[in-house]
Amino acid sequence: MAVLERSRRQTNIETAGDAPATTVRLTIARSDAGAVREFRVALTQPAVVLDALLAGQRLDPSLGFRYSCRVAMCGTCAVRVNGRPTLACQQPITPDTDELLLEPLAGFAVVRDLVVDTSPFWNAWRRVVPWFMPGGPREALPAGDASRAEVERGLDCIACGACWSACDVVVTNAGYLGPAALNRALTLVADERDGARAERLRVAGQQGGVTHCHSILGCTAACPKGLDPSASIRRLRRWSLVA
């Protein structure tokens, strides 16, 4: 099988220093028949998986992958690195790395190469009624407030889909809402400014909801933002039992 190589340093940053280059062998899951799967790229330190992809793209411009922000904010660069879902822009490639296997996220249909169709994720997200609805018992939550603390625990999700890819229930049970959507539901259910608590608890408690979680904690282990969706689900489970 052909291996494309890139040893010359020709990215858009010209560094005067002579940082040593690490040569990494990439195996990339490609979807086009006959597309090259093996790349050998030379990377200078520091490097992240996204740099390896960009270097691979110089060798084969048709390589398909996504990214936008480079700083763990947009959530579009998620791929599986050596089988584990993670953000390409945040996964460092250490100097002693010599091989990497890059694959698209699991649990989604592949559009091309590393690009996947995330619509199942968003359909689930939509089902939990993810938008804030005014009308709750309180107007504002001051610092140190208990309700605020509950909500904040679940904020800052970037909807990258890593948890979806890591969830063993989602891949076998198409109706399951999945960790991210339920985590979003939690941030609203816990929010005393919100007026639709009952409805969301109903959605979370019914078929496809919190009862399907097996506490595998794959989502929590995978979350690149350090959130704990599994804990959110367990909280929702308690609340929906009481409700």
Binding site: T44, V48, P61, S68, A143, D191
Partner: protein, 577 residues
């Protein structure tokens, strides 16, 4: 390869871009008239592309007890060195508190509050009062997350991962919509619309070291330019002083937040000299963005920078625990690139950040073309020569909301016009051309060259000689565009998309270079080494650029109107608009 005829779609309002401006626009239009058909065209993921999402610092609004609209306005104008369109700036400060309220009470944003329950306001550079609303250091994430979910509520039609190509007009020149391209499937379509709102977030990406998200390649500006709209202040491009230097890594250019300097970080060159003592002996590192960026840049180009082209930012004297507590995100970011903010200096460089210049609009986002509105970073004038931290996301949400209101009213009596077939054919031919050519250049080398040219000749410090050279290089690059060939299929092919990005970037780069040549003084973000002084006698004028009859930029100037505040601080009128 373009399928012919392309798919035809129809809508009342077509919104191009799904950052703060685009989504606020959709929500406001839907509130004004829930029956409206709204289509959001977004090159990246809806609500997850662009820079509003990346805002860390926060959102300026005069909410403090002692603060006032006048004070916010004065800070904005002084920050902008009197180049601002004062009506736009005044509208910004007047609307900002209302938008914060709307974001909180209608859309659910959870901004930080004090124990007493008031919105927590943090200090930011160049402001006379603490007025920056935030949610920890993830403000943009909170705002965009909530707006995105509200957009699910209104059920707007989303063309996610579709890029806008060109504006379309009928044979009499009436705006009829735009051509759009699905970057995932590679299919094109004609989107007919009664009103089009451009909110693609401008472009500061054509620099070697740059901070913005990758979609922001000036597509909206280039579309408006080709349609003949005038631009102002295009030379005003802000460099953030502390962009991360991470060698060849794509992380280079990402921003280390301003708060570090505010908290007492020092800047050193490679000889350990604290060069801000020379550049601004009074404010030192806490000086404004333009001054610090220029000082660092000078150190670097004069050979006093580090071997990899940076200077050193050191805040370790605060102590590791304190740094980890206050700047955990920043500490993590430096760890990722093998440095450590908590224990020693980190390499930084100025990084291209924000474009103050843009399309000329009025307070309702109206342009010279009937049916075409522009909002957010694509528009110019609000910030003058320099933007205050925290006024950017305020601008995108305030003006996005206004664009939505205007559009909803506008489409009530604006018809749909059928586009001129020739325009459709030209637009699609151009878009598919790189894919059809079998041999030629890849877009990567040309993009590298563009970024290099802009960085060296039209960056933090400019001169006539350099700018003339940049002009040459850019026209050469523009001529190479027709030689780009991209292998691979039309589905999800980033190299093809990059070749389309490049065309827009070059168009906008030319506007920047031509405007920078025109302004023979130094003001705000624009510094000319051959005209290093601010010249209020000659240059309280906006540089206006538009497409000339030969297709090249034609440059003129226009007096700035001091409708509310004249230089020297004399208030002309400050009544509520």
């Amino acid at each position: 390869m373009p399928e012919w005829p392309p798919e035809w779609l129809e809508t009342d309002i077509a919104i191009v871009g799904s950052g703060g401006a685009g989504l606020m626009c959709a929500l406001h239009a839907a509130t004004a008239d829930p029956e409206l058909k709204i289509t959001i065209v977004s090159k990246g993921a809806v609500g997850r592309s662009g820079c509003t999402r990346m805002v860390q610092g926060g959102f300026n609004a005069a909410l403090g007890a002692e603060d006032s609209l006048e004070a916010h306005f004065r800070d904005t104008i002084e920050g902008g060195q009197y180049l601002n369109d004062q009506e736009l700036a005044w509208t910004l400060v007047c609307d900002a508190p209302g938008v914060i309220d709307e974001l909180e009470t209608r859309f659910g944003c959870l901004f930080d509050r004090t124990e007493g329950g008031a919105i927590d306001l943090k200090p930011f550079g160049g402001q006379s009062f603490d007025r920056t609303v935030h949610r920890a250091d993830q403000t943009g994430l909170e705002i965009m997350g909530r707006l995105r979910d509200q957009v699910l509520r209104i059920g707007a039609h989303e063309l996610e991962d579709w890029r806008a190509l060109d504006l379309l007009f009928d044979v009499h020149g009436e705006l009829s919509g735009l051509t759009v391209l699905d970057t995932q499937s590679g299919h094109a379509a004609v989107l007919l619309a009664r009103a089009v709102v451009i909110a693609t977030g401008g472009s500061a990406t054509m620099y070697r070291i740059a901070a913005p998200a990758r979609e922001k390649t000036g597509d909206g500006m280039a579309m408006c330019y080709r349609a003949g709209l005038p631009f102002r202040d295009m030379e005003m491009l802000q460099f953030h002083p502390t962009g991360l230097v991470a060698g060849d890594s794509a992380l280079t250019g990402s921003v280390l937040e301003e708060g570090l300097r505010g908290a007492g970080a020092h800047l050193y060159n490679r000889f350990g000299e604290r060069y801000m003592e020379r550049a601004d002996p009074i404010r030192l590192e806490r000086s404004t963005r333009d001054v610090v960026a220029r000082a660092s840049y000078t150190e670097i180009v004069e050979g006093r920078g580090t071997p990899s082209g940076g200077v050193l930012l050191d805040i370790s004297h605060l102590g590791a625990d304190e740094i980890r507590r206050r700047f955990s995100g920043m500490a993590a970011r430096t760890l990722l690139v093998g440095a450590d903010l908590t224990t020693g200096p980190v390499e930084v460089s100025p990084t291209a950040h924000f474009h103050m210049g843009g399309v000329v609009i009025d307070q309702d986002c109206v342009t010279e073309i009937d049916g075409l509105l522009v909002a957010g970073e694509d528009a110019g004038g609000t910030h003058g020569a320099n933007r205050l931290g925290g006024n950017g996301v305020a601008e995108s949400t305030v003006y996005g909301a206004r664009a939505g209101d205007t559009a909803a009213a506008l489409v009530r009596d604006r018809a749909l016009y059928l586009p001129d077939d020739r325009l459709v054919a030209d637009s699609l031919d151009q878009a598919y051309a790189p894919l059809r050519r079998s041999t030629g250049l890849t877009p990567f080398e040309l993009t590298d060259r563009l970024k290099h040219v802009m960085w060296t000749h039209c960056g933090v410090v400019r001169s006539r000689g350099g700018l003339l050279q940049a002009r040459e290089e850019l026209s050469d690059l523009a001529s190479q565009l027709t030689r780009i060939a991209v292998p691979g299929p039309k589905e999800a092919n980033p190299a093809w998309q990059q070749s389309l990005d490049l065309a827009s970037q070059i168009t906008v780069a030319r506007l920047i270079v031509e405007s920078a040549l025109e302004r023979e003084e130094s003001r705000g973000a624009h510094f000319r080494s051959d005209h290093p002084e601010r010249d209020d006698d000659r240059w309280l004028r906006a540089v206006i650029a538009e497409r000339g009859p030969d297709g090249n930029p034609s440059i003129g100037t226009r007096d700035v109107e001091f409708t509310r505040l004249a230089p020297g601080g004399r208030a002309v009128a400050c009544e509520t608009a």
